[in-house]
Amino acid sequence: MSKNVIVIGGGIAGMESSAYLAAMGYNVTILEKEGKLGGHLLKWERLFPTKRHGKEVLEFLSQGISEHVSIIYHADIENIERKDQVFNVHLSKGTSLKADAVLIATGYETFDARKKEEYGYGIYDNVITSPDLEEIFLSGKGIRTASGKVPQRIGLVHCVGSRDEKAGNIYCSKVCCVTGVKQAIEIKEKLSQTEVYCFYMDMRMYGFHFEELYKEAQEKWGVYFIRGRLSESCENADGTIVVKVEDTLAGKPLKMTVDLLVLLVGFVPSEGTRKIGELLGLSFNSNRFIKSADEHTMSNVSSEPGIFMAGTCTSPRTIANTIMDARSAAATVASYLEGYNIEKRTIHRNLK
């Protein structure tokens, strides 16, 4: 009889690991809290660095969800028990499912920009976030200010809720620099007369083709980059926003009026990641994501046998990286279920 795997979360990581586990002959059940698979991918119109449509990736991932994968939508997990090697997952609707392994793919949420009160999100109408802008792109509506005007100048603010100990997140979210560059280009594609400024501390263009996208933003689209972190923003009587930064390369404080300010919000562990991690008694890392047994060699292995992770529940990741991590998680789960236990190898510290 083939073994059962429960995958918690039907976003990118959950979908791709399920596809691989099903292909290897396991019975896979995805527990998805929403009524649809796809997670954040549903909310992202185009993806960096190629500007391809998010839909294309979603369609690709969906092809892996064969008849060997069952999906339970609107799943709300109440409790997970373990008896010997078998897990019993209880849902709030009274259903219970048995599993030989549990794979957590509960992902991330974007940082709640309201927590950075001095940036004015939720206070000033013309301060929005990168997901808000993506929603505008997806809706096909034009980019307009709160009063319906075409913005003449738009600012994008890097590192909102990331690299910021005051916000409680010291880590870099890895995707927002290049998202900012991508969105700056998309703004210029739609509004060629609008000036676009990015306020950054470092342009982290580490991925393949990221630097080219950055160059394209400068060369083809005339996007401007100012090196300085936003200290605060305030609202003029006409609803425009004044941003205050230091132009660190010029060595002078700078203020600038923009019609629309976009906050590039970072990653935080999702509510589901926190909840499931706690239910299963897993360890969390210093940034509150689920802790991997080892960051170099065992990113998919948790602190408990039979429980594994895939995707952004362990750290911020790009989509490409999430897909790779999901496949790696499937291989790790399979080795456990087949009794090879290669995930039990130990990595020695202080080897001389």
Binding site: K166, S231, E246, G251
Partner: protein
């Protein structure tokens, strides 16, 4: 001798091998958060004094690290010790205390002389 009107320009480079980093060493020891600055400029952007004078906290920190010669006393008297910079620093640098420590180190040195 014929005067061609040429002069030798003074070297404007920071000679890092030669500069005296004693203030940096002192601050590193007495306010270790000084080492955590990432030069983001948030403090300078928010600084009440920096908006009206040429005072620039982020640049001051950088120049101290490089051992650049400055009139420190003159620099730090521009700070009003309002503490706004501490509130915004993403690295939790105790900026205000660094100003106080700079003052301390100058006073100590005066006394020694």
């Amino acid at each position: 001798m014929k005067d061609f009107g040429y002069t030798i320009n003074k070297d404007r480079q920071i000679n890092f091998d030669r500069t005296d980093k004693w203030i940096y060493e002192y601050l590193k020891k007495h306010e270790p958060s000084f080492k955590l600055c990432i030069g983001c400029g948030t403090c300078t952007a928010t600084c009440s004094s920096g908006n009206f004078t040429d005072f620039n906290l982020r640049r001051l920190f950088t120049l101290i690290h490089r051992g650049y010669k400055l009139d420190m006393k003159d620099e730090i008297t521009k700070c009003m010790l309002c503490g706004k910079c501490i509130m915004v620093c993403p690295r939790g640098v105790n900026t205000r205390n660094i100003i106080l420590k700079i003052n301390e180190v100058i006073e100590n040195r005066k006394r020694k002389k």
